[in-house]
């Protein structure tokens, strides 16, 4: 233990962050943040990345967290600085991402007086945080930071807000590293109950038509190795949610890809027909289940989640297990290894799935308008990065094509706002991801709509030399809303056509990044090679087909077998 050292609150915060192993934080200064920024000026191990908008700071910290598994940290000044973080905090909350957001607050004696740049940020963020602190005494700082990191990163991860009045930053304290926790109300259960795990193992062993349904918890708990073992041991076909892409390699013969609204025919039918559904770390979200009453109608359901509140929330499982995906999968493997199991038990089922995969692959046709097929662009990114890049996205059609046409092989490879569906997430998240994992190629697959929401962060990428590759699938539309208008609103494209569009190539160049424009098929590969190889931030404007839709699609609230555009290969030329 370090000896107590007199210092200011602002310095103590830097020391405490460094003690937690924080290497980088994303932020934006402001009036009451000045004392902290003054202390950051002298920081040795802690690096600060100046973003161009606080929302970018939150998303970048979130992208860093999702890519690395470590806590992402962002900071903003009081009032508008703090409120600009709100979308990013909510994004992290819905996707259970470990984020610590440090906001600065007006002087303690001014709180509640509507002081300049005062906002009640702990109040505003109450419904979207795992926990929050309003620091009342400089001496609390080391302990608060230690607890915040612990809470953000354990159990079901999530965002923690630390709101610090400026006088606390200026106040003095005797600093020592905080290493113990005093959280009597916080004791997450990681290990599933052995009785439940035994019951689940028995059900898996007996199942003739099992499906493994993975959610974000599989990635959050680093469960991929245990899940691979489990799936291979009993030859369990695997469907993943958007949040779990990469938790199971899509190159594996047992992978069925993503399930749900834009999931594969194979995965959705398998869930519909299975007699046992093993949910590890997923939450039966409406984008996955469609009409809840008709979801997995023939199945006994096992639901394992580290968050007890998820169990029974939407679906009452036959075998509930409170525990994380990693421990539960490991427990299941251990139990199953001791059981007899004839491989022919599931042979018919696996053959049925293999046949369906063959008959109903994802497919698209060459666009009639002569523009690029967006799916082809994603396939080319997949091919040229050898299924190895980290892919970040915004939200909408391009996001769904990114789930469908890129091959995810490892956890934390796909970084996307799944729960909140936040447009503008992709670029800042990709900057955070690239800073966290500099050795990987990081590609932000975006749309022309989402990109324009946070495109100022190109300046951040350029100034810190973060070579992310931004691929804009530019169809001139807010494509997913247009798709719904096309299918369900009589093609009344109300305010979804983006008529005035910047020249993205010139825009990128204006920021000091590489800008490329691709309109022809044969330009895709050279442009991607240049963007990936140049070692600088790059933006490629891919002019894609204007009215291409994402298929298959399960209309909201319908049964997941009621898919539009999930035709058989037999019924079409290919």
């Amino acid at each position: 233990m370090t000896p107590d050292k007199r210092m200011k609150g602002s310095q103590a915060l830097v020391a405490a962050l460094e003690h937690e192993g924080c290497e980088v934080l994303f932020g934006y200064p402001g009036g009451v943040a000045i004392p902290f920024y003054d202390a950051l000026y002298d920081a040795k191990a802690l690096r600060h990345v100046l973003v161009r908008h606080e929302q970018g700071a939150a998303h970048a910290a979130d992208g860093y967290a999702r890519a690395t598994g470590r806590v992402g940290v962002c900071t903003a000044t009081s009032g508008p600085g703090a409120t600009n973080l709100v979308t990013g905090i909510a994004t992290a909350y819905l996707d259970s991402s470990p984020l610590v957001a440090i906001t600065w607050q007006v002087r303690s004696d001014l709180i509640g007086t509507d002081a300049f740049q005062e906002a009640d940020i702990t109040g505003i963020t109450l419904p979207i945080v795992k926990h929050s602190y309003l620091v009342k005494d400089a001496a609390e700082l080391p302990q608060v930071v230690h607890e915040a990191f612990h809470i953000a990163s354990t159990g079901r991860p999530g965002p923690v807000v630390i709101d610090i009045p400026v006088d606390i930053a200026l106040g003095e304290l005797a600093y020592h590293d905080a290493d113990s926790l005093d959280l009597p109300g916080y004791r997450p259960t990681f290990k599933g109950h052995i009785k439940q795990i035994r019951a689940a193992a028995k059900a898996i062993n007996e199942a003739q038509r099992p499906v493994l349904y993975l959610g974000g918890g599989a990635i959050a708990s680093d469960a991929a190795p245990e899940i691979l073992q489990l799936a291979e041991l009993r030859r369990l076909p695997v469907a993943t949610t958007l949040m779990a892409l990469g938790a199971f390699p899509e190159t594996h013969e047992l992978s069925m890809g993503m399930l749900g609204m834009h999931g594969t025919v194979t995965a959705n039918y398998a869930v519909h027909e299975c007699d046992l559904l093993v949910n590890l770390g997923a939450r039966f979200d409406d984008r996955v289940t469609g009409k809840l009453k008709a979801f997995a109608p023939h199945a006994r359901i096992i639901h394992a989640d580290v968050d007890p509140a998820e169990i029974g929330k939407n679906v009452a499982p036959l075998i509930p297990i409170v525990g994380d995906a990693k421990h539960v999968a490991a427990g299941l493997v251990k139990e199953l290894e001791a059981m007899e199991w004839p491989a022919e038990r599931t042979a018919e089922w696996l053959a049925r799935i293999a046949a369906r995969r063959e008959e109903f692959p994802l497919h698209y046709e060459d666009p009639k308008d002569g523009k690029l097929a967006p799916q082809l662009v994603v396939q080319e990114i997949d091919r040229l990065t050898a299924h190895d890049a980290i892919i970040c996205t915004d939200v909408g059609q391009h996001q769904m094509w990114a789930t469908q046409y890129y091959t995810y092989r490892y956890p934390r490879q796909f970084i996307s706002s799944g729960g909140l569906g936040t447009m503008g997430f992709g670029l800042p998240a990709s900057i955070g991801a690239k800073i966290g994992i500099p050795d990987k190629t990081v590609v932000d697959i975006s749309g022309d709509g989402g990109f324009q929401m946070t495109m100022q962060e190109l300046a951040t990428a350029v100034s810190y030399d973060v070579p992310v590759v931004v691929c804009i699938l530019n169809n001139g539309y807010l494509g997913m809303v247009r798709q719904w208008q096309d299918l369900f609103w009589n093609k009344r494209y109300s305010f979804t056509c983006i008529e005035a569009q910047p020249d993205f190539k010139m825009l990128a160049e204006a920021f000091g990044a590489v800008g490329l424009l691709v309109t022809e098929k044969d330009e895709i590969e050279p442009a991607l090679r240049e963007a990936i190889g140049c070692g600088r931030p790059a933006v490629i404007d891919f002019r894609t087909s204007a009215e291409e839709n994402v298929f298959p699609m399960v209309p909201a609230g319908q049964e997941i077998t009621e898919m539009i555009g999930g035709q058989s290969r037999k019924g079409r030329k290919s």
Partner: protein
């Protein structure tokens, strides 16, 4: 169906907001809420009465458990808990009405805590049902003002 939840929380600023906010977000109306220190000055005990079906109450209980400052929650079974609420009521009391009000007070073991020419103020402790019965009887006399603490409750036996 009514549920009485006894929630042990850390005695820290903002905890009540977190708890109450959760009920609002999950669509519950709080019928009554009482909060005070527990046997340990670092902990407070909140008693909340809500009306809700079994499943949503179970869900809100689990969500409450996720609040870092919440230590313990009990869904108290009415048959196996002691509960009480304090009520103060001012009732019109002139002439015959005064006699009647005094009789009713006597029956309910209510204490007369204030009196003037026109009205009587009664204070009474009892279960929710008892207080409701009292108010029903006083109604014809003319109730001028009512204030209630909300139910507090404790499980029987091992507590």
């Amino acid at each position: 169906m009514k549920h009485t939840l006894s929630i042990l929380v850390e005695n820290k600023p903002g905890v009540l907001t977190r708890v109450a906010g959760l009920f609002a977000r999950r669509g519950f109306n709080i019928e009554s809420l009482a909060v005070g220190l527990s046997e340990d000055p670092k902990l407070s005990r909140i008693t909340i009465v809500i009306d809700g079906d079994e499943h949503p109450v179970d869900q809100v209980t689990k969500q409450l458990h996720k609040l870092i400052n919440v230590l313990k929650i009990r869904d108290l079974d009415a048959g196996n808990a002691v509960s009480a609420e304090l009520l103060i009521v001012r009732v019109a009391g002139e002439g015959d009405k005064r006699t009647e009000a005094l009789q009713i007070a006597e029956i309910f073991k209510a204490k007369i805590v204030d009196v003037d020419r026109r009205a009587l103020t009664l204070r009474v402790v009892g279960t929710n049902d008892k207080l409701e019965a009292l108010l029903e009887l006083l109604q014809p006399l003319g109730i001028l003002e009512v204030v209630r603490t909300g139910t507090i409750a404790m499980g029987r036996g091992r507590g």
